[in-house]
Symmetry: C2
Subunit: 262 residues, 2 copies
DNA sequence: ATCGATCGTTCCGTATATCAGAACGGGCGC
DNA sequence: GCGCCCGTTCTGATATACGGAACGATCGAT
């Protein structure tokens, strides 16, 4: 007995998550390799998931892809999130102001998941997809979410998560990251330049719930050359104001701002 | 041995689909009742699914809800659908023209699933959520999708699916439905008034892929009083043109229209 | 404040359902 | 036409998932 966890269901979940790489179609053998399971096991999993509509088989190629029921379930989750409803028009406004892609992200585990976004109208633009998961320690949204966490959680994060250098500019020293997060709290916004991907810069600000807790971040991302051509103050102000606008729509009142974290 | 299907995974899938009722949170006991499983079994399923992020537990109430990974997976499905990208601006235009809610639906099994929509600006309006599943035989979108299916599939549908009367106006006679579907093919659009829900009317037109096959339907829905106040010809023309606009964006060329079905 | 009902959680023995590997048949490319 | 890799099927040994019962906490009504 390994855990109190159902191994079969765990495998089924791992199989579904294999599609988070955004590959549209995967085969039995390929999945068996990635999950380190027998081909027949994977096949049986797929058969079961197909019967339930979570997965579909392409009759042409024989390969498998996620099914529409998966889409329905995802929309059911979205339907219960306040954030997309509150952020929609603000994101649109932010794009008009800045001309760049902007997105709203929430923390899940040690990552940031974007729950809504608008895309820049420039032909050279950041592609941010809703549902995309990125690390916290090297993105502007992630830094905001991390900065406003209670101190013990922030420290636990640094003890738990290795700061892998995704580029030469990624902050890998925990002390330096902590110092930067303190700076984020004092100035009210975060920045990440070249830290997750070379050539990409972003700036983020907090979104608060009625209790004043930071529950999400709103950010603008751009190619670094265009990013540098705009005064940072100007962009920071636009993003911070957008964050406050979304917060107000969530029921937050400005005077209830807490002093520091959480 | 019942099937070649994994009972545990099947139960996990059924558990997830219990949330398609759009209830945000469900408890162990409640789920056990609905799925007709032991409480401990459901609890173990939930523990496993929680560990994988497909489900989250509310630490306050102890109840469970769908997790963010579910949202990610749903977005992964959306990312591979051409339809939302092609339909977005057309839906917006259709709302401007008609002032009513409009949506794009695809067939899945014996139902229609809405994959995209825009909402009316009237305060009294139809609430259509993306990811919502509705029957085919009593909705305008469903009638379109059914009408353009190959004859044998259409007949198989009628043999398989009971035409349950959701309102007194639901068409329950297979012959009458077949006749109506023939009419849909000749005029190029479908209508459903009071058939799924009293007080609701809708009108739909086909969306075609480059081969000319009908792969989706676009529809406008409204409260019946407002619906009646607009000449039907006018609305039908707007919806049909919207369907053609989306079809063109999918790569369909008008002259390639097939004569009748598929 | 107290009782009762119901919640989520844990434990455990039995029985059954799950696993991996090998074998099969079809399709594609060399 | 040959070989490779695909998805699928079968089988027996074994691990694993099941449900009933018991526990502690919580909420609502009395």
């Amino acid at each position: 007995m390994t855990d109190a966890t159902l191994s079969t269901v765990r495998n089924a979940a791992r199989l579904l998550k294999a599609f988070l790489t955004r590959e549209e179609e995967l085969g039995v053998s390929e999945l068996a390799r990635r999950l380190d399971l027998g081909k027949s096991t994977v096949h049986r999993l797929l058969t079961t998931l197909t019967a339930e509509g979570l997965v579909q088989q392409d009759p042409r190629t024989g390969g498998y892809r996620l099914g529409i029921v998966m889409f329905e379930l995802g929309e059911a989750v979205r339907g219960h999130m306040d954030l997309p409803a509150a952020a929609g028009s603000v994101l649109a406004h932010l794009r008009e102001q800045t001309g760049e892609s902007s997105q709203v992200g929430v923390a899940d585990g040690d990552d940031v998941v974007y729950v809504d976004r608008t895309e820049s109208s420039h032909s050279l633009r950041l592609f941010t997809e809703a549902g995309r998961r990125v690390p916290m320690y090297c993105t502007s949204s992630g830094k905001v979410l991390l900065a406003y966490r209670p101190e013990p959680q922030r420290r636990a994060f640094l003890d738990r998560v290795p700061l892998r250098p995704l580029t030469p500019h990624t902050i890998t020293d925990p002390g330096r990251l902590l110092a930067e997060l303190a700076a984020v709290r004092t100035r009210g916004w975060a920045e990440a330049v070249n830290e997750r991907e070379i050539g990409v810069a972003s700036l983020a600000a907090p979104i608060r719930d009625p209790a004043g807790s930071v529950v999400a971040a709103i950010s603008v991302g751009a190619p670094i050359t265009r990013y540098r051509s705009v005064p940072r103050r100007r962009m920071a102000q636009a993003v911070v104001e957008a964050g406050e606008a979304v917060s107000r729509r969530l029921g937050w009142a400005p005077e209830s701002t807490p002093t520091k974290e959480s």
